[in-house]
Amino acid sequence: MTRIHDTTSRRQFMKVLGAGAGVAAATLLDVRASHAQSTGPVKVGVLVIRAGVAAPVGAAGLRGTEWWAERVNKAGGILGRPVQLVVEEESNPKDTVERYRKLVLQDKVDVVVGGISTGVTLALGPVAEDLGTPWLSWDGTTQKGVEETMPNPKWAFKSVDNEVEAIVAGILTPKYFKGIKTVAGIGNDYSYGHDCWESYQAVLKRYIPDVKFVLELFPKLGVTDFTSHIAAIQQSKADLLMCSFWSGDATIIMKQAAAVGLFKTMKGVFTTAGGVHDSLKKDFTPEGLLLGYNTMYFDDPKASPLLKQFVREYKAKYNEYPPYECDHAFFNAESYKVAVEKAAGPAKKWPEKAQVVRALEGLEIESLSGRRSWREDHVQMCNFYQGITTHKNGYDFVTIDPIEMVSTKQAMKPAGSKLFEWINGWKV
């Protein structure tokens, strides 16, 4: 805050000085500034979660962005300008908004990418609109619960709606698990966990009208002992357990459930556990669960050469297999590049920020996971990958076979509609 004030007052001082020395001097200063902006490196501000439960997700997003930047720079940059990443931390909404302002006002970045927690991105949306620099969100929306708060943004580009993977799982559940009558649910005790559970129930009820939801558990984010929750789930005698955990807690509940043989009698749907897919070891993760990988499945036999190259290099560098956040991050950065090139036109003149934004609207490009696009109202469109867990692979963790691919065209509420009205209007 102080630093920003400092810069502002210094700039004001310069302006006064400029006025004193004559209008010509001030104009000269301005010209230099804009000249520097379109020839030096393209500055890409990156907001990354560094601490807490979502730190691994943040790390994956940053890795995806770094891989993109290296690749672009090797190929000569964007319109000949090299890419430079300016990384700041995403933490709580208040501090992140300050860092966002710093990126735009002080570092003078051309675009900001990143944002994972919707708690944070809800606050970033209006700030991005205010500061007039494009912001492309990896994984955060501007939804309050399942309701959109910014239906017509100018500068903010948002992730897919949070509840999409629960909706996809709801669509796939009746296809793979016949005769389900009772369902228990467990999710983290915050917006994502509750929204996923509500949406999953709404969808499943459309396919199985007499299904009963017999138990719902919402432990806090960060809990590492679910033995008591599992005792309650066993007691519920549900036919199926739906779980929307996406961090280490998914690994833990899998392990502790296996230890009491929970999935010997119960079916399991893990909408988002693909986020920690390589920690789901075969030792304790059974075959036959429905497992969601969000928008990118690293082991897709139909993967593009781009994805195959990325997976290979990611494994070589980090000794891990990449999760979906890499794809969100790659898509955001790459779509910015393509939009700049498109807006530049044949003259290859560096476009204004507003021109870039217009070029992004409706833009479809090749991302790691395949074709992805921006809907006209600035929401990501993509495919979701889910499937049935299998041990038949060369890894020590589970993968999926068959692989189901469901588009946001089918599983995300259309612009301007209300989620539950939309679901209840489906022809099933």
Binding site: A51, G52, V53, A55, P56, G58, A59, L215, E216, L217, F218, P219, K220, G222, V223, T224, D225, T227, S228, H229, I230, A231, A232, Q234, Q235, S247, G248, T251, I252, K255, Q256, A258, A259, V260, G261, V276, D278, S279, K281, K282, D283, F284, E320, D396
Partner: protein, 303 residues
């Protein structure tokens, strides 16, 4: 009630009770570390949760190394416990390197210092082991499962419960029957008098803090086969350990034992009967204890 239904009810009761005891066992070890340090050094050590996380990560590495070297899986608990104990030595470093400078400072300053240690340890763990959750894979089930009154129980959970109980007894013996225990109790009771009688406070503080640290690291190492290590796993536990010591009475070892049992078992019952009450119930009890017995169930006793 017909017999089959009765059997189901018994199995569920066993499940709930054992899951509560399992949770209580881990809570006890962390809370015991908190208590022994507070009892003697009068420092409320928030870093006890970080030591727990550190023990968990070192445990994962030790077991990984052991299995990689071809050690028989059935004996994995030996390197695990040894690693958990050994890394407790980090307590000496923290006490001599940081804490001893704040003994005479304000309590809030001490609290801030231990919180700074929490943040530093979280970063150190992330730098060393990376950000992804780490686990010991399938070793959790190396000892198999048993059927108890119709409930399936992983034997390893029983091992953790037994180990925690054994450690509680060992601490009781240490405090009540050994010369070191008498010195600890004397120091907790009246530091000046103990010092006047020739107790070397520097050594006692270093030893006590290391003991407190080792209880945390051992707790983390013991629990890790049943869960997965995450760098922030300590924070969650500090909050619950805090409830344990308020219920049991700050500084009391017996209080830590009873407090952990109360919190662990009531949490399990709440989750199974009325899950919305999970955390609330614990705090309701904390409030009730604070109103009825402000010093906790066993407060006032030295150790």
């Amino acid at each position: 009630m017909d017999q089959r239904l009765e059997g189901v009810a018994v199995a569920h009761a066993v499940n709930v009770l054992l899951s509560g005891l399992f949770h209580a066992s881990v809570l006890f070890l962390v809370a015991a570390g908190l208590q022994v340090v507070f009892g003697v050094q009068k420092i409320f050590n928030l870093a006890c949760g970080s030591f727990y996380a550190l023990g968990a990560y070192v445990g994962v590495s030790a077991v990984g190394w052991y299995v990689g070297a071809g050690g028989p899986p059935a004996l994995f608990i030996v390197p695990l416990a040894l690693a958990g104990l050994a890394v407790g030595a980090v307590g000496v470093v923290v006490e001599r390197g940081l804490l001893r400078f704040v003994y005479d400072r304000d309590e809030t300053f001490q609290l801030l210092m231990t919180f700074a240690i929490v943040l530093m340890m979280e970063d150190a763990i992330r730098l060393t082991w990376g950000t992804a959750p780490r686990s010991t894979g399938g070793l959790y089930l190396a000892y198999g499962q048993v059927r108890l009154f119709g409930a399936t129980v992983p034997v390893y959970n029983l091992v953790v419960i037994a180990a925690s109980l054994a450690i509680a007894l060992a601490i009781g013996w240490l405090l009540a029957r050994t010369a070191f225990g008498r010195i600890i109790r004397a120091t907790a009771d009246n530091r000046e008098m103990a010092e006047a009688l020739g107790v070397d406070m520097r050594r006692v503080y270093a030893k006590v803090f290391t003991l407190g640290t080792a209880l945390g690291t051992l707790g983390g190492a013991l629990v890790i086969p049943a869960t997965a290590a995450m760098s922030e796993m300590g924070i969650e536990l500090i909050v619950e350990a805090f409830a344990v010591v308020v219920i049991g009475g700050l500084g009391s070892m017996r209080g830590a034992f009873v407090g952990a049992l109360v919190v662990g078992i009531l949490r399990a019952i709440a989750i199974s009967v009325y899950p919305e009450l999970e955390m609330l119930l614990i705090y309701l009890i904390v409030i009730a204890v604070l109103v009825a017995r402000p010093r906790g169930l066993f407060g006032g006793a030295a150790a």
